[in-house]
Subunit: 439 residues, 2 copies
């Protein structure tokens, strides 16, 4: 068998998992790839940590196992990119800065295949990298970039090619989902749940990208590109995370048989793409409501084959690594045939304001008589039908209640809220929280 030589750039949590699997499963992987898979070189600033944790021989590391300066690492990266002896490079450095972007483009320009789990890089700056791959006829494997080993990328690219995807939705961020599950099941406040998530290893010390919805958005951007051929920007999505969810929101959700989930949602309708990342009220009948903890789930609805759900662990060292290794096998098998055709479309992106959904609106108001009449009248004036009005919580100086609507647009709701503010500027305490209800 021909040998197929791999280098790894960045041997941290994920990269060292890749090295471990490439070494542990070498025989099976080589049979599956129909090439002798060889892990040739690793570039890592601190080899000893990686080596110790996953039992990786130090002589695989450039520099023989000693710590590298950034400059030394850069030189080794250059050397490998231009080496004739490497077929495929795994990028597991992470981040989306210029250095990483340039490295990815240079890998492609040098005629080497690239496998990466870097969702931020591909979602925010993928265009130039995919273009470099196309131009140089190399493949980019990025299954691991969306929900680790859940096989959603290959499912869209290879399994649903006999169909037409109508919508993609899902729970794509394990940290947020863990926090929401803890708030729901253990009756915790957001801060307590976040603390538990950090202690349990489900949230990083700086959890910003997870709880503000950006990480989930990166994944949705990649899925929407594959499913619909559209490039959505983070600005267009303007994601809302879970950091402002309160216990009372969870209680209101329970009252209408829902769980609050951070839902990623993209749908094709009449030549337009609707997409959003925000907390939604997911009806208990909808499978996504039962996805708890750090688990991820992706739901696809197809024209011919209907509804599909893929569930699994969306993060973790070996989970992500196994997915990277599968991409290596796939590229080694099929490389010259791969050159993914990403369908280019002219779909318009539709702002979340124009989504037609039923919504739940949570109002915090001064606690005086007449408020319910005022609020429901303004909602009715915008031709929004009200489904249910919750029991009103009277909490010392204020009251909290929620209204579930039948399907309408966010614009109608915004107009209703504007009317309430105009008629009685003294009544609303803070901006009402508006969340779609997902059946």
């Amino acid at each position: 068998m021909k040998s197929y030589n791999i280098a790894i750039f960045g041997c941290g949590i994920v990269g060292s998992g890749v090295a471990r699997i490439l070494l542990e499963m070498n025989k099976e992987l080589s049979q599956r790839a129909r090439h002798t898979i060889q892990l040739k070189r690793i570039v890592e600033l601190r080899p000893k940590t990686a080596s110790g944790k996953n039992n990786i021989p130090l002589d695989l590391f450039c520099g023989g196992g000693k710590d590298l300066t950034a400059e030394e690492a850069g030189k080794y990266i250059d050397e490998i990119i231009h080496s004739d002896d490497i077929d495929l490079i795994v990028e597991t450095i992470g981040g989306s800065n210029d250095f990483i972007y340039d490295t990815a483009v240079r890998i492609c320009d040098a005629g080497k295949h690239l496998v990466t789990a870097n969702k931020a890089l591909l979602a925010l700056r993928g265009k130039g990298i995919f273009e470099a791959a196309r131009k140089n006829k190399v493949s980019i494997g990025f299954e691991a970039a969306v929900c680790a080993a859940i096989p959603v990328i290959k499912t869209i690219k290879e399994s649903f090619t006999g169909d037409s995807i109508i919508s993609v939705s899902g729970i794509l961020n394990g940290t947020s989902n863990y926090i929401l599950s803890m708030m729901q099941n253990e009756k915790l406040e957001f801060k307590e749940a976040l603390k538990l998530a950090q202690e349990g290893g489900y949230a990083e010390a700086d959890p910003t990208l997870d709880i503000n919805g950006y990480d989930a958005s990166h994944k949705l951007i990649l899925l929407a590109k594959l499913a619909f051929g559209i490039d959505i920007t983070l600005e267009q999505l303007s994601p809302i995370g879970v950091e402002n969810i309160k216990r009372e929101d969870i209680d209101f959700a329970e009252e209408i048989n829902c769980k609050i989930k951070l839902v990623c949602y993209a749908k094709r309708e009449n030549g337009k793409i609707y997409a959003a990342v925000k907390p939604m009220m997911v009806k208990n009948d909808n499978f996504l409501s039962s996805v708890n903890g750090a688990t991820n789930a992706v739901r696809l609805i197809n024209k011919y084959s209907g509804r599909h759900i893929l569930v699994g662990s969306g993060a973790g060292s070996l989970e992500t690594a196994s997915s990277i290794v599968a991409d290596i096998v796939f590229i080694a098998r099929y490389a010259e045939k791969m050159k993914y055709h990403i369908e280019q479309t002219n779909y318009d992106f539709i702002d979340a304001k124009h989504f037609v959904f039923p919504y739940l609106i949570v109002f915090k108001t001064v606690d005086i008589p007449g408020i319910t009449g005022l609020v429901t009248t303004s909602i009715g004036n915008q031709h929004i039908n009200i489904d249910t009005v919750s029991h009103n919580r009277h909490i010392k100086e204020y009251a909290v209640f929620s209204i579930a609507t039948t399907p309408c647009t966010l614009k109608q709701i915004d107009d209703a809220i504007a009317e309430i503010k105009k008629n009685r500027p003294d009544v609303l305490l803070g901006e009402p929280k508006v969340m779609p209800i997902l059946y």
Copy 2:
């Protein structure tokens, strides 16, 4: 683009769906396959039914649209198999008789790729067909043979290649699951639920293969072959279907927080493969318990990436057809690279008797004092720990109760039952029903 020519043998419910998608999505399919996909010829005994239902031009049918005798159809099949103008043949005739087997082998021998949804054929007689494909360097696409468009075959063959599969389980028969769901949710007896399933199109007029577990077994045999490289026979599996499930079994399941599901289960452990198809008590915490109606679900547990679940519709004309079309696209893209390597292993097949599981045993006995002591003593004599003893139902001339055990083997339970019979041949009314409890 080079053209890629397709013929369809058998244009019934599934075949006509394939023809429809090939025609409706022709432009997208050709882009995705990077070949101009052309549906060239269809062989079907009754073209008008197929044509009318899915709007397929009659001139695509051999014979120009007139009904064919079996002999005429056979001649057209010969002609197409030996035609230079056809690249790939879709077999949607069904069945596993000699004619179908020979046709499949002849397609491969003629150097043509084969795509089929025929699970019985591949599960019972696949060896010769896969061998013919290997010898002639053609591909066999059979994603549609296991749970229609649920992408489980490609997930195992292409997505989990960077991992090692430990177990495959699932609900692989929609008819059985629909019946069990109706018994559970609507409090029906088996016969009433079966009737409803037939009226709703979820069961065929002759539902034998669905309710006796054979259809599910065919699918498990194919999954076990791909996941573990082992050829399991139907005799080895000796499946048990759902036809003997009674309302009282469902009630006992509820008492221990379970749903009864027809579970297909295969597991690798210490170089041995354990496999079974039988009704199991699935704990409400296990996701499979919440899979209702005609939905199918497959659960895979991997060494590195943990637990995965794929859910979707496991049957239906267009669902199955879209999966066949995806295989066509895949083969057109990658054909000469495909030649699947199915790993050959030396795993021993272990009879269900030696599974270690917790079990629920349902006893029907004469209704006299002392029975519980007799039964529980014999169970204890086999070193089986008892977890719970159900409330005893006193029904006119007999009593029914159930015992949940902690993990033990079926052999231990058989021995306990034998002891009860030996000590008191007059007590048991019929064979106790023994079902594994799945956590």
